[in-house]
Symmetry: D2
């Protein structure tokens, strides 16, 4: 809950689809991308966009963008515009800067001497400022502050554009990757190909799925012969809802080409020697949907194991274990399993409490968290509660919950946090509070229990 | 989950607030009603309305209505209009008929010879058709098909209106109650009084809370001397978020008067002799928020006890117990506790999947439920699962889940339903499918397991 | 221009259509009403509504209402809902009270013991307050402050409603007319009939047209045999755009029944003896479209004759005659014709200047009228100008124009006003400024020229 | 009227303002630009945009864009964002392509190595395709199809960008002008300067005004000492509404620098030798507001003189002269003056008839023009009418009007057209119908009278 309330974000989701077999395809490419984005909606709710291509030469691109959830951004009548397409990419955006405008909505599409390209990006270039100067020094004006436009213009920059028949976009992508090692998971569509690119540090997730006949969806095995199409997504949780089988993860530094001829790994750009990969820890802690798979493990299971470990490292004498719904639930169940204490629910979440549109007068201002949670008193009155939360950031959301539970009859409340304290800012796009705001860096941290429940 | 998907509904929520002490009040009456409605939002999301009164003679009423969730219907600039008020009532509406229009939005306000009244209603008059003819025979034209307008006009009908100084609204309410015994929980605001009325069968819930200084919110006892105001609500779950203490339930057939002078029970209209009360069972099964209290018991606990009883009545040999999130979770935990089997989560819900705005082509149409749930495979692969659902209605939503779990590796799936099969329609406003559609009335019911998992 | 700026209003427009010949009709009844309302749009831009009926027993009514201009209020997809209908009535509303809400949008539709009726009303009942008490004394609650609801409930009141086969609505209409002599032009739709009613004083206009085959539209004569349908409208200007021929005016106090069987005058309710009719003078001055015909005369011609008479009554020595566009133009041309002075244009209107959405800072606040008009200097520099306006109300809009013209080079500016000074309020629904605000009642009026151009 | 109905367009309006005197200024720069755009609204109603700058180093730019009229595009709460600014430019857009999207809305703003610039453009580059390739060959991706982006990137291209202290934007503008001689009127804002640029052919208008104290607005003379600020606009009609005095026209090929230090002509790029200037004739015929001044003459007067000349070149024996409102009125009055025939109004325009939102059924489809105009019969019945229109394009809108007038009683209708027949397409951005569609190129043109009135 600390995480949710902390405002930490900048995830975004990318999703692509390409029809195998004869083109024009019978596969509902645009609908698959739309459903894929709905399954990635937890990664960003500010805006959504889709670009489809018929893949011919020159290709016809169709673009649809809108503010808000996928279901708001794409009106049924607009969906008809996208009906036909043999391949396409989409994006769902989370906004850090507050500059929530339609022009920042991705994918970004540009005309180049080598044809039209579309780019969808999750991540943040740590050296964006230097790269912007580089591009501008070349005589380019940048019309947005987004990395997607920057990436697009960088792709045009080197090698010099010439009027050739077979432009080498892969060389351009490699050049981009040498210019900036992190962080990005990228989808680049050009004519009849989608390139899926993950930065050398593997900071953001990206994986590939295979569309098979629904009837064969759950049969094991099956050659690539029955492939109806390919999908590429930030998270594997999107595969199930569109009838795709998990195929592989795009590896750190890898460029994968997805075309009618299948999936082909073109290259792996290495990290600086000695550097370990740097997959974003927050994907495991909070961002990702629990049924997604990263590095061969299900996110839910990772969270649950953290809860188990927590019970080992920080046991306590109590009557029940519970969660601050919803993201801490796997860890709480893990803690309960390991500790042998019974798991109960103590808080009931009102999912309709969103952004507070009321400026409450004095009386209501004191109530705070009570708007969001109801106490399930029967489950803990007269009991000692272990309450598991997902993280500790500023340390300002858990106090009211402790108060709520004690006032409703809990005799003791023991807080257990399923991830390490956050101590440092992030240079790869996660907008963490300032060092001074992080509770782990403050004097109160030494006596945290008394600070949180004076 | 069956319940959620079944389209069973017509709940609506009503909420009222009246400031104690000197008027004009410092109490933020309109904000309290708004937050109260947010806490009742699960009872209806189609439209919302608030009417406040300054309580003077003649009173000034201010009305705000809008379509959608409370947060959508009331814009911040509109809230300012409601800022001042000493009492008021609100309503959040669930639509059965599909006639979702602003003019059906409650509370319904009319000018009468005895002043302006506002009416908010939860329920449905079983003899509405006859009552409409009665009203129209008297020479009244009815401008909507809503029961609220009908109730309002019935209140004006008897006794005949005369230009008197102290109109007797209670006599009118009693007359209404003799005309129709069910179903309604009503709030009627007239000048400086709110009447809270519950039908003789007690079909819909209604309870009263006391606003106390936030500092005294959790101290036990405390006389009425420290009362800052009174609230009346469909469900007690709304009390916590506005700083109110549970005071009492309005009893079946009771008329309660809420005024500056406190809460006063005026009358109890009895049921036909021999008839038992008829509290709507679906409040316990699905409608109500788990932290609400009806008839002295917390809804969560009732659901949990149903799960325990289920484990006694229908035990099975299995490895794990789980829920179809979210409404069946208390029952699933109860089943796990009673049976001694471990509780795990097997399904992850995508809360962004709403109304399908895509008319899926052939391929996607086969996927159905997969859009809504992801499988948490690690938790059940190779295991025998007891899956608890809240109810069984048409029996057409659980099959795909069984399939999903089996394909993801469950060796056995045992379905347990935490409420009795629904066999009959409802004449009190719950729009249950036709008798023929109810699975409990169909031949397949005899061999349900094979029907659901062929 | 004084009139336009004065805020004088409350006109509204009503329009009805009924298909002759076999039902279901091939005539596009809903489209004809929509176009009719567009042609009456100058009478009210706040909201619009249409109700159509298939005319069967019981009839199916379809209603469409919306805020704003007809083209905004009725979306194309909504129009489809209205597609089928054999008769219908519509309304376009002007708001005086600022209570611009959808619920005040007409036609008003109610269910009565004698079937469903729809009412569209232009005018204001001078004794509305007394009639409201009368209705409420009968035990009716009134849900709006609109006269349309009041009229509808009055129609239900007398004679008492009984369950009969052939309800006598005409008797009810007559009773209404005895209760209130003015002001109203009414359309009442019941099942398969439209009643067109004009109050005994004939305060608001109402006339009837005959739909003929387009090919015969301009041939003179032609029996009723070629009638394709009937229309009834506030103004005859709407007939041309839908292919109707002017048929007759509804006379003061007349009840006309329009049905499949043709148009039939049922009754004329007389005025109190000695009282003259009281057609609203402002229809001629400003409200009506210039191509409409009232009492046998074209509005444009009446305005032009006023200008001619003005030249006779108030001649002046000048070089050119001009208008404050656009409503004073016919009078200005009349003045020029009669005086023999040349007519020129001196002001160019910016039709995009609407409601000022800017709160101008000090500098811009001084510019006022200059936002609305540009000076056509070549046409009057160095000349003496007679400037004709339509009316004089508060006398606060003409001064800046005099200043504008003089500063742009006019040597003299002579103001001539084409209608008498307004001295009194109106009790029939025209919201005239208070007596004190009317310039004709103020001391400055004695030396008006110096007051307007100090 | 032919012109209005012909769909000929692509005008757009540009407007800039810069405060003289001390910065931060007290001058309401953003409000002045907004009102300036309202006065240019007739040049484009699709979208509007404003960018203001505080002029400091580096400058803070604030941007506001929206679809529709200025009054729709800029909401009051948004205007607050623009409140402070010492200079700024705005644009109102007319769409030819149907690609009416927010991303095409101007001004176009980009970050360059030499700072942020904003560009507003009226016109169309005749060699846009070649210039796009040129830019793309340099390695730039173009994200829109608009000339504004192209111009912006061309400005960045030459000379090469270097990190210098005093970037020479004028050299860049000159380079742009050598690359493309027409057509453009441009406003380019960089930090604290606005460059006003007109193409060497002077195809589109652009002029400069001086903001003076309102009290001195109409005094003649006055040195530049009393200058409060400078404005630059497509048309001088916008000056009056914001309190500006006409200062000068930007000459064909001229680059004017507007800064705190006043207005300075920097350069005039010549046309190819022997080429005459090519001011767009349609500005005089239809586009411009009649009170604007081009080349020292008022547009109204030019139109009127065309009418006079028409009476000399094409006299006729008739009773009255009239206009197809509203654009032909000056010419009609000129014709009447020269011919000595009386001027009357014969058509009344319904200004609420906009885009047809109804797909009319067979009956209504035959009515066409009647929706738009009402006949003022009294003014011409039994008379011979000379009807003046502004232009002849396809020749398909005047026939129904002739029919309308004749059917309403005109004995003869003589059409006179106040501008030459259009025979050729335009390569400078005016979207004229194809050569084949132009009536002047069709065989029917030889016997036009019989064709138009068979």
């Amino acid at each position: 809950m600390e995480f949710e309330e902390s405002g930490i974000g900048e995830e975004c989701g990318v999703f692509g689809c390409l029809a195998a077999g004869e083109w024009p395809t019978q596969l509902e490419v645009a609908q698959i991308i739309t459903l894929g984005l709905v399954a990635l909606q937890h990664r960003g709710q500010e805006s959504a966009g889709i670009v489809t291509s018929n893949g011919s030469s020159p290709p016809t691109y169709t673009t649809l963008k809108g503010m808000g959830l996928v279901s708001t951004a794409f009106k049924p009548e607009d969906m008809l515009k996208l009906r036909y397409g043999n391949l396409g990419i989409g994006h769902t955006r989370y906004s850090t800067t507050g500059m929530s405008e339609l022009q920042n909505c991705q994918p970004f599409v540009v005309d180049t001497l080598h044809g039209r390209i579309a780019v969808a990006h999750n991540g943040e270039l740590f050296n964006a400022a230097a790269l912007r100067r580089k591009v501008m020094r070349h005589g380019v004006g940048l019309s947005t502050s987004s990395d997607s436009e920057l990436i697009t213009q960088l792709l045009c920059l080197t090698p010099p554009m010439e009027e050739v028949d077979n432009p080498d976009w892969v060389a351009r992508i490699k050049n981009l990757m040498t210019l900036t090692p992190t962080s990005y998971s990228l989808l680049i569509m050009h004519k009849d190909v989608i390139y899926a690119v993950r930065d050398p540090y593997g900071n953001r997730p990206l994986c590939i799925g295979r569309l098979v006949p629904i009837s064969k969806l759950h049969s094991s095995g099956g050659g690539e012969g029955d492939t109806e199409g390919w999908v590429v997504s930030s998270e594997s949780c999107s595969f199930q809802s569109i009838g795709a089988k998990y195929y592989c993860e795009v590896r750190p530094g890898e460029i994968v080409q997805i075309s009618k001829h299948g999936v082909k790994s073109l290259n792996i750009i290495p990290r600086p020697e000695g550097d370990p990969p740097a997959f974003c820890i927050f994907e495991y802690v909070y961002f990702a949907r629990p049924d997604s798979i990263f590095e061969g493990q299900m996110v839910y299971t990772v969270r649950q194991r953290c809860g188990r470990q927590l019970a080992i490292e920080a046991p306590t004498d109590a009557d029940v274990v519970s969660t601050v719904p919803e993201s801490a639930t796997p860890a709480a169940l893990g803690y309960a399993q390991e500790s042998g204490l019974p798991y109960v629910e103590v808080l009931c979440k009102n999912r309709y409490v969103g952004r507070t549109f009321i400026q409450p007068d004095t009386r209501l201002r004191q109530l705070g968290v009570a708007k969001k949670f109801g106490a399930l008193t029967d489950n803990f009155a007269g009991k000692r509660v272990v309450l598991v939360d997902d993280s500790i950031v500023r340390g300002n959301t858990i106090s009211p919950i402790i108060k709520l539970l004690k006032e409703a009859g809990a005799t003791e409340v023991h807080i257990r946090v399923a991830s390490p304290p956050i101590r440092f800012p992030c240079y790869m796009g996660i907008n963490i509070p300032t060092k001074e705001e992080l509770i782990a860096n403050r004097p109160e941290f030494k006596d945290l229990a008394n600070y949180l429940d004076p």
